[in-house]
Amino acid sequence: MATRSGPYDEMLVDGEPRSTHRALAATLDELGPEGLAERARQRDSYLDRHGITFTLGERERPLPMDLVPRIITPSEWSDVEAGVIQRLHALEMFLADVYGDMEVLNDQIIPRSLVTSSTHFHRQAWGLKPSNNVRIHVSGIDLIRDEQGVFRVLEDNLRNPSGVSYVLENRRTLAHVLPEVFAKHRVRPITEYPERLLEALRASANESVNDPNVVVLTPGVHNSAHYEHAFLARYMGVELVEGRDLYCREGRVWMRTTSGPRVVDVIYRRIDDDFLDPVHLNADSVLGVPGLINVARAGNVGIANAIGNGVADDKAVYPYVPALIRYYLGEEPILPNVDTYDLSDPEQREHVIANIESMVVKPADGSGGYGLVMGPTATEKEILGAIKAVKEDPRGWIAQPVVRFSTYPTIVDDGSISPRHVDLRPFAVNDGKNVYVLPGGLSRVALPEGSLVVNSSQGGGSKDTWVLEDSMTIERPIPLEVPRAVTIDMDVPERLDAPSAHDDRMLQQERQQQQGGMSC
């Protein structure tokens, strides 16, 4: 075990920037606190103007974006990418298995009761086979870097991971208000995400459909991620619909349009399983489409992500994912997990309760950082509450030793730059043939000093995240002559301009007029 040396600083070693970060550090120094403060103001007005917001409670607010970008080197990234793809393959196989033959349970790789007691294990989805065998069209695997700088998986998000719109907007915002930082780096572009997503969605339609009609299904404008739903619909050029715009009839999903009903072939739904279909799931739901699951079962609509994926990102299943990787792929996990205690095991439960000040306790089916208890910073009352909850419902909770994950220099309230904890959510899109991992992803920053909670719902911020191209920095000699190869065939006709309205003589005489001038 390593010594508890403190968190890993991604930019600095002994107060000096790593070689990969020198250019960035120098640029930040040149700008200085005043320059950065001015840019911060411009960033805020840009975010406000563009309405790049998330909704918290009743209020829309901009997602705070730090001006210091996070750099990930090509070699670091290739591990992350390979690890994410590997994990997804195993999780896809696990879901196919759980909603099919259940061999993984018969082989006792994972306790049957753990799966069947998951709140996200939907029997309604059993035997429902997606046409291209993809259930996790979009995923966000949350990673942290431990004290040694090793990337570890913190949790899987396989239902409705959100945040990708902020990844794309952060890049654009940073390039708009702080172009200087881009000058000495080659950053891998991320613009193709919406295209990749659309391809994956189209691929999940019934094979017999030539030109699938894809829609994005949102709960509505009051949802915290509505901005993202609209963003994705816009960039994919597809309709953004609400449940009330759709209905099922004759084994098809239809949308109501001004020119009559139109068939919907694929639904990228951003509403939770429970609300998706009042016929089969939560009967009180007014956000879903009654009969949707019947249409899906008939194979006439693709639903992304699939219903019931939550069983694979249940935090109680998480400790078993490395075993699933070995079981399905016969490989060792590329990205290790964080140590996790199984609270349904009496011995482990006792250990956790005894050492709860150094643990983080999370609800097994939670997301968004709601309900978690941070041992080191929790109040007496919170700790007692957590112990009580764990004893009452051991299956409902997991515990992990608090990992003081890595930090990255961040501009804080007083304008100075100081380290703040960051995580990373790489987004991956599976079209059934390939998994595309968006280079970078969402880096979330815990803004209060020392805080380890990065969730935007808990007031976390974000950073533009750069994966550098293989050639690290650009050597760009200034050519004396611009190569004209590309511009040579540019056929630019003449510019027409207004003929001069005055010749010099007119101008002179106009100005000479004494009468009526101001000089008399």
């Binding site: 650009i474 050519p479 590309v486 540019m490 630019v492 301009d497 207004a498």
Partner: protein, 301 residues
């Protein structure tokens, strides 16, 4: 209406349009240079300067590019120059302009004459310019009576729009920046949402086709030609005509774009080149027929 006044309105329309389009194109081009460094910076600068008919001696990075395209008064191919030239024409017809129009244009002119502040990034400054120009166009549209003056302004605006769209497309962003180019072109034309609603994801050829032939997007060459034709017809109905010469010019352009039977890239490129030449001919014809008629007696001493 006096020929001189008509001419000023025509050029007012052209210059405001030129300033706005140039600002948009520069903003997106600059952002592209920042975000996607796959093209050498001097090269990326030269491409834009060529397209705008500006000299590119010594312009080797994005910042210098912004500086030279924002430019200075007296160079009507630059933003500052175009706004200045627009303002000169507005001054000549100040009595027939709404005060709001002149104020908005003057505000844009003053903003530019102060230069871009150094404490902000170019993108931020360009956006502020663009906002002011949008106000100018908005005020013109809401306050100008639909009379002769208006239609000359509208004719000028649409002729310039065709020309600027041609310049934007001449740069071939989608070839230079296969990844991010098509989106940048659409943004520069203010067409991103319109395009996406219609077509979904990007393919270079489709973007060009959309910006040339689309029948719903107000800045497509086809719609600009149709708008120019409407302006000429409106002038004719007001008794301002040249025996159909100008109408023939814009009408032929509109119909060639409307009734083209092929949409392969080669044909699209031919249409772009033809449209730009037609815009020049139309401008010259308007000049000959209405502004600087033959037979005008000029006193030369």
């Amino acid at each position: 209406m006096l020929s001189r006044i008509a001419e000023s309105f025509f050029w007012l329309g052209r210059y405001i349009e030129r300033a706005e389009a140039t600002t948009r194109i520069l903003g997106e081009h600059y952002q592209l240079i920042v975000e996607d460094q796959s093209i050498s910076e001097p090269m990326a600068c030269a491409v834009l300067l060529d397209a705008l008919s500006l000299p590119h001696i010594g312009v080797e990075d994005g910042l210098l590019l912004v500086r030279s395209v924002v430019g200075e008064s007296g160079l009507p191919a630059t933003i500052t120059g175009a706004v200045g030239a627009g303002r000169d024409n507005a001054r000549a017809v100040r009595d027939s302009l709404s005060t709001d129009t002149f104020e908005a244009l003057n505000a844009a002119h003053l903003f530019l004459s102060r230069g871009l502040t150094h404490s902000s990034s170019p993108g931020v400054g360009l956006h502020r310019i663009l906002e002011r120009l949008l106000v100018v166009n908005g005020v013109i549209d809401w306050t100008m009576p639909r009379d002769e003056a208006y239609y000359f302004m509208k004719l000028g605006r649409n002729i310039e729009r065709i020309d600027m769209m041609g310049r934007l497309l001449a740069m071939r962003h989608e070839q230079l920046w296969p990844n991010s180019g098509p989106v940048a072109v659409l943004r520069a034309a203010g067409a991103l949402s319109a395009f996406l609603r219609k077509s979904g994801p990007f393919q270079g050829a489709d973007v060009r086709k959309f910006l040339v032939l689309d029948e719903t997007f107000p800045r497509s060459m086809r719609m600009c030609a149709a708008d120019a034709e409407l302006a000429v017809r409106a002038l004719e109905s007001l008794g301002v005509g040249d025996g159909g010469m100008l109408l023939r010019e814009v009408g032929m352009l509109r119909s060639s774009l409307e009734y083209t039977t092929s949409d392969d890239p080669v044909e699209i490129n031919r249409l772009i080149a033809d449209a730009r030449q037609a815009a020049i001919r139309a401008s010259n014809q308007a000049n000959k027929a209405f502004f600087r008629q033959h037979g005008t007696i000029v006193w030369s001493h």
